[in-house]
Subunit: 364 residues, 2 copies
DNA sequence: TTGAAAGCGCTAACAG
DNA sequence: CTGTTAGCGCTTTCAA
């Protein structure tokens, strides 16, 4: 039971595969001819082409992508650097990104730096060694991160669900402000007048953006914001319950609607309201943010919520990256629209299909 | 603005980087010497080494990994093929896997096939073209999947959190049965005698394994299982609430403990018990499965739960894969131990630190 | 229509 | 101690 050291038994060789030389030999043609036949290049006799293809199939030939890349100076790979420990927001983004890039034959090197700058640098080094054609950086969203150091400035870098100060970089983000406004517009449109906003820690940029959106909608409706109705706390259900205690415990006029900074807060709030004997949405309407099914659907009643359309964000990131690899120069901050999914907590009829609305809002 | 097609502007070249030729030229030595200096190979005059390294730094030289691999016939990459849409169970596994492999300088190609066999095959083809040194397959756990078709049989393949019938393959799974027994042992040890098991759909192998573990523990304690106490339904909070209605609605002697198949069921159950005026854990103890913080910690009271140690599973997968790449032959089904995290729902003092226990249980 | 050869960037064996 | 060279597997001129 030897160690699994670097010099293992017959260690090292990746499964030996047929080379184009083998194919050529078996087909009885030259190596150049074989290449042409396989790449449908140049003019070859149909007979030769068939012969070569047959030989290739026989041998299970698959061209060595590294050798191809070496020649083409195009690796057909990109790096994805994540810092959110692959968190739940990142997943749908990655999924869509992978899907998009795969359609173009581009593979993804996945790296996780867990917020350790040194590991991050190591990963970037590795990726540069692999000659990735582009890099996508993703992170927890609290703060702007320092730009990745890529020498030469020629490699496309996109920050998605993450932001940096580098003016040359492209940052892709959900339109938090617009999404929040969408939610509050909806509450107002369904007759609510005293809308409170219960949200997360103020250090998050998303918190202030969503608050802005909340204010936007109130202003638009001619309602004056009331400072008692803005409550910042943790991103948790417990905070949602506490906030309800604060807002409905007397001392201030109770709101008739709650727009919450995320679904956990909204769920906690909905629970607390029910336990106080207040009906949702009868007495108080509740809207959350994230549209996280596990929370939004399990809540009683199911929560209306703002969806950040992370899948679309991931797809957009893939498309932008491909464009940049193709030579386009893109930079700045691009915010993609959120949508509102209406469920019972804000007055939808039970059992009816959700009717998402969209707001298109681009900032650069 | 033109399409982002394959023939973009100056498309294609990955950021041109200094080659070892450039380094050699700048250092005024031959290309072979430069290579030796950089790889600390052979015997060189210290002066030359310094000169070369300085030149390399000046030029920001980073060896082209594809060229190296081409020569070494070892790509230092592995593929990860997932089918669970990157689901929440897969994340911690991937994280640990990535960490483990990165320590060995191995990079990961991430692919998602979303249960489409055709896309899966495409991805495998791509990966074979990239000459990956190994492959890791992950999936939703309901059923055994058909083995991946890798020609030649020489490439290491590991199925993690996923199982296949191929007797030559290595499958890594959590020890569901042992984990369940751990939970029920704990309930019995803390004085419970009427332990019910509320779990998910019977099609899941995990459901029957956890049921086995439940029976194991009862038997060990000399308690006879009662068929009324076994309830299978959906993996949801709603089912947890329903099950409580069934178990405590009269007609059968109510249990004094609930071992639930996952944390969502457990949370629903805890909610329903509270709403019935039953104290948790005073009247009924509750233990969940998965130790999913979002559920377990947000529940009232916080849930005791079985942790599948997915991080350890991922790390094990990485280590096994490295061993196999090194030439070791591993096969069979390996089940890694779960652990129990005790919180208030099963009688832990409030605010005290959780005391995980471990069971080591390997099956092949 | 096909074959031969150069070269992508690197390493290692062999000369000098 | 250092330089030269063959070759990893492939594509692509350039000849034949």
């Amino acid at each position: 039971m030897g160690g699994s050291g670097d010099k293992g038994v017959e260690a090292g060789a990746y499964p030996a595969r047929a080379t184009i030389r083998d194919v050529a030999a078996r087909a009885g043609v030259s190596i150049g001819t074989a290449s042409k036949a396989l790449n449908a290049n140049g003019r070859l006799k149909q007979d030769t082409i068939d012969k070569v293809i047959a030989a290739a199939n026989d041998l299970g030939f698959r061209p060595n992508a590294m050798a191809q890349s070496l020649h083409r100076t195009r690796s057909m790979t990109v790096g994805v650097l994540t810092n959110d420990s692959f968190g739940r927001f990142i997943f749908p983004i990655l999924e869509a990104l992978e899907e998009t890039l795969a359609e173009h034959g581009i593979a993804i090197f996945m790296c996780n730096a867990t917020d350790d700058p040194q590991r991050e640098q190591q990963h970037v080094d590795q990726l540069l060694g692999k000659r990735i054609d582009g890099l996508l950086v993703t992170a927890r969203r609290m703060d702007r991160r320092p730009p990745i150091a890529v020498p030469g400035k020629s490699m496309p870098v996109i920050y998605v669900f993450s932001q940096t100060d580098d003016p040359d970089a492209l940052c892709l983000l959900p339109d938090d402000r617009g999404g929040a406004a969408l939610a509050v517009d909806h509450l107002i449109a369904t007759g609510r007048r005293r809308v409170a906003h219960v949200t997360g820690p103020t250090e998050f940029e998303a918190v202030s953006l969503r608050y802005q959106g909340y204010l936007d909608a109130l202003t638009r409706a001619g309602l004056s914001p009331q400072s008692d109705y803005y409550r910042s706390g943790a991103w948790s259900e417990a905070w949602g319950r506490d906030a309800v205690a604060q807002l409905f415990g007397g001392g201030i006029e109770p709101p008739d609607a709650l727009f919450c900074g995320n679904d956990q807060i909204a769920r906690g709030a909905a629970d607390a309201l029910r336990e106080r004997g207040l009906a949702v949405p009868g007495d108080v309407a509740v809207v959350g943010f994230d549209n996280w099914d596990v929370m939004a659907l399990a809540a009683r009643p199911p929560l209306s919520s703002v969806d950040m359309n992370l899948h679309a964000l991931g797809r957009a990131a893939g498309e932008r990256l491909i464009a940049m690899i193709g030579g386009e120069r893109l930079a700045g901050v691009e915010r993609l629209p959120c949508s509102l999914v209406v469920r019972q907590s804000s007055g939808e009829e039970p059992q009816s299909a959700p009717a998402p609305k969209f707001q298109t809002n681009k900032t650069s």
